[in-house]
């Protein structure tokens, strides 16, 4: 957590600042270059020239410390699951997870006989946005990212959480 | 801005600390750092004399030569220390005493 987060009562300045901050966060969600399987190729395609994720402010980072969004693109095997968890823990707050593709959401085609496939990445880390498809098209991914941005924009980073 | 005395005092403190490091540190690199302190103290004196003692630019030049020497010394010393490490798996100068009975 940052120094200032959730430290303030609700007032006009904080509200404005909140807006500014959530705007900043939603506008520059840097994603973690982290491909697992087939979906990773579509993620690369989304980042490449035709779809160009950078349009919506996404920038790839190869170190989890500097990323905001983790796109779990592909099948999470059980061997990999621990690593995914560790990478998630290494990310700095605020952090978001997108489960891309049916494998990451639920195990996908491997849900029945996949003795070595994790049936959905949400079993180990919290997921903000699920994107269906096998694999999802780049457009779906972008849609999912925009959904995530909307979600972030609704946050109020500085205000004290009510229920805390 | 201090007079010659001030600079000489600072230099002597640096010098003494350098001597102390050389005498008491076990690690070869720490000893080297002590040597650098001593050299710096000497340099400070040179430059102070250049300013106050009428040594003029010659003092600077002496200091320059000391710096050159320090560079050479550091390079060789570190090469020796690394060699020491490769042979003894330690850089503690007191452990490298095979010559002792």
């Amino acid at each position: 957590m940052g120094y200032l987060e959730h430290k303030f009562e609700d007032n006009i300045i904080v509200t404005k600042l909140d807006k500014l901050l959530s705007w900043a966060r939603s506008t520059s969600p840097w994603y973690f270059q982290f491909g697992l399987a087939c979906c990773a190729i579509e993620m690369m395609a989304a980042a490449a020239s035709r779809h160009d994720l950078e349009r919506i402010g996404m920038m790839p980072r190869s170190s989890p410390r500097q990323a905001d969004v983790m796109i779990v693109a592909g099948t999470v095997s059980i061997k990999m699951a621990e690593r995914v968890k560790r990478l998630y823990d290494q990310m700095a707050d605020p952090k978001y997870v997108i489960a891309m593709g049916s494998c990451a959401t639920s195990g996908g085609p491997y849900w029945q006989h996949g003795y070595h496939v994790l049936k959905g990445v949400d079993l180990i880390i919290p997921v903000d946005v699920y994107i269906p498809g096998c694999p999802p098209r780049p457009e779906s991914l972008i849609e999912g990212l925009i959904k995530l941005q909307e979600k972030i924009r609704g946050e109020r980073p500085l205000t004290k959480e009510k229920d805390a | 801005m201090g007079s010659l005395h001030n600079y000489l005092m600072i230099a002597s403190v640096l010098f003494s600390l350098g001597i102390f490091a050389v005498m008491t540190r076990r690690n070869g690199i720490a000893v080297l750092m002590g040597v650098e302190l001593i050299l710096n103290a000497a340099n400070l004196n040179f430059i102070a004399f250049a300013r106050f003692g009428g040594m003029n630019i010659s003092g600077h030049i002496f200091a320059l030569f000391v710096i050159i020497m320090a560079a050479a010394e550091a390079a060789v010393a570190l090469a020796i220390i690394i060699n020491l490490y490769n042979n003894f798996k330690s850089v503690n100068v007191d452990e490298a005493r095979q010559l002792k009975q």
Binding site: - | G2, N6, L32, G53, G54, F65, N83
Partner: protein, 162 residues
Amino acid sequence: MADVIFWVIAGITVLSAFIVVLNKNLIHSAVALLFTFFGVAGLYAFLWADFMAGAQVMIYIGGILVLIMFGIMLTNKIQSVNISHSSMQKNAGAVVVVAILGLLIWMIQKTPWKITTAEEPIQTTGQIGNLLMSEYLLPFEVASILLLAALIGAAMLSRKTK
């Protein structure tokens, strides 16, 4: 004001030199040495030796200190960042060093220094260059040979034995 800055710099220099000598963590010593060198460079600047201050920063910090850090990293297992190192004969050393320091201070106080008030040189670099090329040419050449020898020697010492 300048006096204050002078004493601040002098304080930093001496204090960081103490840390260099007394700190248990080797890499911290090296970082403290950085401040010592910087402080000494600051003192040079007070002594109208701008070129020497630059040279001090460039060679001591950019060269020697980097070498020292490389040396530290190469001679320690990289598994842990904390490198502690011990000292020996601290007490005896301290006594002797304090004696030496006392002696030096006593000597500094006692000696009647011949103090001339020189004028601030307009620029030192040119003068240093001229002197190096005329009066101190031989030492200059010798120094270059020394550096060459050190270069070759260091390369020889640290090269891989196949």
